[in-house]
């Protein structure tokens, strides 16, 4: 079945704020999952020993004074998350016009409905 020009004209278009917002939401969920899958498994594999004494003073590995699992499992993904956030804020997220606020629009609608109901009642 072919779609005619008139059909296309009749079909309303999604609002760009909704479309952009949805796309950005998917990006954010992926960033969150990426952070989760990096941080928790890494820290668990390298920071949870069978015997805590494996992390005693002679065996502890450090990077810049931090236990190495903290550095690679928390600090590095934290920096990476900030880089991705910067990319998101300045290159991915769209500048949408959110429109003027319609202060009182909801109240006006409600008052109109109330009046309509009162008139119906009469």
């Amino acid at each position: 079945m072919s779609v005619t020009k008139n059909d296309r004209a009749a079909k309303p278009e999604y609002h760009p704020v909704f479309l952009h917002g949805r796309r950005e939401m998917v990006f954010i969920v992926l960033v969150y999952l990426g952070a989760l899958l990096w941080t928790v498994p890494y820290c668990y594999l390298y920071g949870y020993p069978n015997q805590a004494e494996d992390f005693g003073p002679d065996k502890l590995e450090t990077v810049l004074g931090l236990p190495s699992w903290v550095f690679w499992g928390v600090v590095v993904p934290w920096i990476a998350a900030n880089v991705v956030t910067t990319f998101f804020c300045f290159f991915f997220m769209k500048d949408d016009d959110l429109g003027p606020p319609h202060e009182g629009a909801d109240l006006a609608e409600e008052i109109a409905e109330m009046q309509a109901r009162e008139e119906q009642g009469r």
Binding site: P16, E24, G47, G56, G65, L66, V74, N82, P101
Partner: protein, 763 residues
């Protein structure tokens, strides 16, 4: 300060005066600044639409205002009291506990921000219940949302007021006039110091919030936001350098074994003329051989007590086994350790006039017969190091007192012979003490000098269930724990917390309101970036600071909530700039204030806008709404403050319950409302109830099964907020699919470009 305390300089906290002045000046200056901000905000109220300005700042927040109000509101008092105490108590593993703050800004602001602001502009919504009601054209959903917000926020407000008063109390604890309040009964059964702090805190927050509305809250948040980050950035280099570098701090943590907590008996060597005060934080010493003798006498009854606790179900099999093993190992640890054991007094205690038996002060300020709560260090290097620090501390205090005595003698009238004799006796005593403290060798041969005039006996100290006698727990997972067999952060909890901070943070109505208030999408994306940098400058540095504090200030496990003010005073005193402590001490106060003002306004907006204007009188004049708004904010604040005079037990648990419960209710329905056109009002209502019900059920079941409100049921090891959110999301989705499609005009209005959507039509 009593004469008896002055006689025994090792017991005097040297930094008290520095703290008192800094804290007092900070509090006065800070409160003055907040009132100035409120005054300016009130001017804005005169020139704009009242309701939108008072509750939403006319949707005109720029980048700094939006970013810092969002950040400051999210960072409650817990960020500067509870969180530091966790880092101090459990070590590096808390870095993983807090790690999801790396994505909190992008998740909590970006996930809903743009669309929620857009939808609120289309409908003209002022509050979160407004959004829910307008989006689905459902007064029922509006009433449900409003009821849940009032329920959670009112309960939470009482708890936050208490938190504010407690923080202020800890800031002013060394101010002399404030100390004298302890003896004046103002309100039966209530600690007078607490009551005065509650009054000061409540009046300042209620006045500026009522008078200035949303803009006052936002601009004080900005002020508070700067105070918080300044506090952290000043403390960070001080903590690292004073701990000898981060590498040294981590190595020392790796060496540490968890302390023991319990009670010791403290008595006077001879009856004293005056009452004797043992301040919190005093270090007391006991010879290891005597400790060993007394431990062997106590070990048998303790083993019996553990076996009985196991039979009664108070201990699990795992806890019992761990504690038994720790008891067995203790003999060897004491024999191989240094010749002295070291205890830190947890609460200020008093030995009454003329008595040799100890008395301890309980939370209500009454004197009761009790042993003294104490923490015992178990790491040999720490014991030796701390003994040396205490020697130095006592020596400096004695030298300072000797100078005072000399001055008094010089100023004495020639006829005051009796007084002169007293002073000369005191001088002789001080000289003897200084001579004994000056020689390291002499002191380490007999460190009991520190105890004078007390004698310590009958230590009844209990080991941690996880980590006792083992090194490495403070630099690895799951971290030590005094009661939990699985340690501080088992894997399932690590996943839960990673989810909780980032995702449930987005579901807080106080945050949602701010998402409805920014000016445009440029503001949003710049603010997300700003908050990302802001949180990076706060949360991980706090972990580093309090890891270092663990090295610098050992033995504070019994009063870890005090670690922030104590560390602030210690770090600044060490560099000779005690006044800086004022700025650092203001940070926790600023954090709790910025949370309370937001909750206060959120609750009053629910009453005025959602109860009165939307359900009772939509035609109310602006003048009426204005009066009601001031009145509601004033009444809600006053009510919460009155509730906090004698707050219910389990208050901290209530804060946790409310914070997670509100997210479980709101995130699912609001998320679907703005991103899924097919969502129906039935789906949203049932989703909200499912989140509320599931979350509540896990707490109620936890109370009956585990016997405590703080131990809810953990389904598959996951926190109730995760389960509540899952139930809510699933319910909204399923119910929306099986109920009739939502009205076409609503979907067109909020999702499509068309003439019904005035905002879209202009795009």
């Amino acid at each position: 300060m009593s004469e008896s305390v002055l006689l025994f300089p090792s017991l005097v906290p040297l930094f008290a005066q520095t703290t008192s002045n800094a804290a007092l000046y900070t509090f006065v200056l800070y409160t003055a600044a907040v009132f100035v901000v409120a005054g300016f905000s009130n001017k804005l109220l005169q020139s704009r639409s009242f309701v939108s300005e008072y509750f939403l700042g006319s949707r005109g927040l720029g980048m700094w205002a939006f970013a810092l109000t969002f950040a400051a509101t999210s960072a409650s008092g817990g960020s500067f009291t509870g969180f530091p105490s966790l880092v101090y108590t459990y070590g590096w593993i808390v870095a993983l506990w807090i790690a999801s703050y790396m994505v909190v800004p992008i998740c909590a602001m970006g996930l809903l921000g743009k669309r929620l602001n857009h939808v609120a502009r289309i409908s003209g919504s002022i509050t979160v219940p407004d959004v829910a009601r307008d989006r689905f054209h459902s007064p029922g959903l509006g009433v449900l949302s409003m009821s849940l917000i009032i329920f959670f926020m009112t309960v939470n407000l009482v708890a936050q007021f208490k938190a504010g008063a407690v923080i202020l109390q800890s800031l002013l604890r060394d101010v002399e006039i404030f100390q004298s309040l302890a003896t004046i009964p103002l309100f039966e059964g209530v600690n007078s110091q607490y009551l005065v702090c509650l009054l000061l805190f409540a009046v300042s927050v209620i006045v500026y919030t009522t008078y200035g509305g949303f803009h006052a809250v936002v601009w004080t948040d900005v002020l508070q936001g700067f105070v918080m980050v300044a506090g952290v950035l000043i403390m960070l280099p001080l903590a690292i350098s004073q701990a000898g570098g981060l590498e040294s701090a981590s190595r020392q943590l790796a060496e540490m074994t968890p302390p023991r907590t319990g009670t010791i008996k403290v008595a006077l060597t001879e009856p004293a003329k005056n009452a004797m005060v043992i301040p919190a934080g005093t270090w007391l010493v006991m010879p290891s051989d005597r400790y060993l003798d007394e431990f062997q006498q106590w070990k048998g009854p303790e083993q019996q007590r553990l076996a009985q606790a196991l039979q009664r179900g108070e201990l699990t099999q795992g806890q019992y086994q761990r504690l038994e093993q720790a008891l067995e190992k203790r003999d060897d640890e004491i024999k191989q350790g240094p010749p002295y054991r070291l205890f830190r007094v947890v609460h200020q205690s008093v030995i009454a006039q003329g008595q040799t038996a100890p008395r301890a002060r309980n939370g209500e300020g009454q004197l009761i017969e009790a042993a003294i709560d104490a923490v015992e260090l178990t790491t040999p290097a720490q014991i030796v190091d701390q003994l040396e620090k205490q020697r130095d501390h006592a020596l400096r205090a004695a030298q300072a007192q000797l100078v005072d005595v000399d001055n008094d003698l010089a100023a004495l009238d020639s006829s005051a012979n009796e007084q002169r004799e007293q002073l000369l006796r005191r001088k002789e005593h001080l000289n003897e003490r200084i001579a004994a403290l000056e020689s390291k060798e002499r002191f380490h041969e007999n460190p009991l000098l520190l105890n004078y005039p007390f004698v310590v006996s009958q230590p009844q100290m209990r080991d941690y269930v996880t980590g006792a006698h083992e090194k490495g727990h403070y630099v690895s997972g799951p971290g030590p724990h005094s009661t939990e067999v699985l340690g501080f952060l088992p894997l399932s909890l690590a996943v839960s917390f990673f989810f909780m901070w980032a995702i449930s943070g987005a579901g807080q109505p106080a945050s949602m309101v701010r998402l409805m208030a920014f000016k445009n999408s440029i503001t949003l994306r710049r603010s997300i970036f700003t908050v990302a940098i802001y949180y990076s400058l706060i949360y991980f540095p706090l972990v580093v600071i309090f890891v270092c504090a663990r090295v610098l200030l050992p033995g504070m496990e019994g009063s870890a909530d005090q670690i922030m003010p104590d560390a602030a005073v210690f770090l600044t005193h060490q560099i000779g700039h005690g006044w800086l402590a004022g700025i650092l001490l203001a940070a926790p106060f600023a954090a709790v204030m910025s949370t309370v003002d937001s909750f206060l306004l959120l609750t009053s907006s629910a009453l005025v806008r959602d109860v009165y204007q939307r359900n009772i009188n939509p035609n109310a004049s602006e003048k009426t709404i204005k009066r009601l708004s001031y009145l509601a904010t004033l009444l809600v604040g006053t009510g919460a403050a009155v509730g906090a005079i004698n707050p219910p037990e389990f208050l901290q648990n209530i804060i946790v319950y409310c914070g997670s419960g509100v997210a479980a209710c709101f995130l699912g329905p609001i998320f679907f409302a703005i991103y899924w056109p097919r969502t129906t009002k039935q789906g949203a209502i049932l989703g909200m109830l499912a989140g509320f019900g599931t979350h509540l059920a896990m707490y109620v079941l936890g109370y009956f099964i585990n016997g405590s409100l703080s131990r809810p049921i953990w389904l598959l090891g996951f926190d109730p907020v995760l389960v509540g959110l899952a139930a809510s999301f699933l319910t909204v989705w399923v119910v929306s699919l099986i109920t009739p499609k939502p009205p076409e005009e609503l979907v067109r209005k909020y999702f499509y470009k068309n003439d019904d959507n005035p905002a879209a039509a202009q795009t």
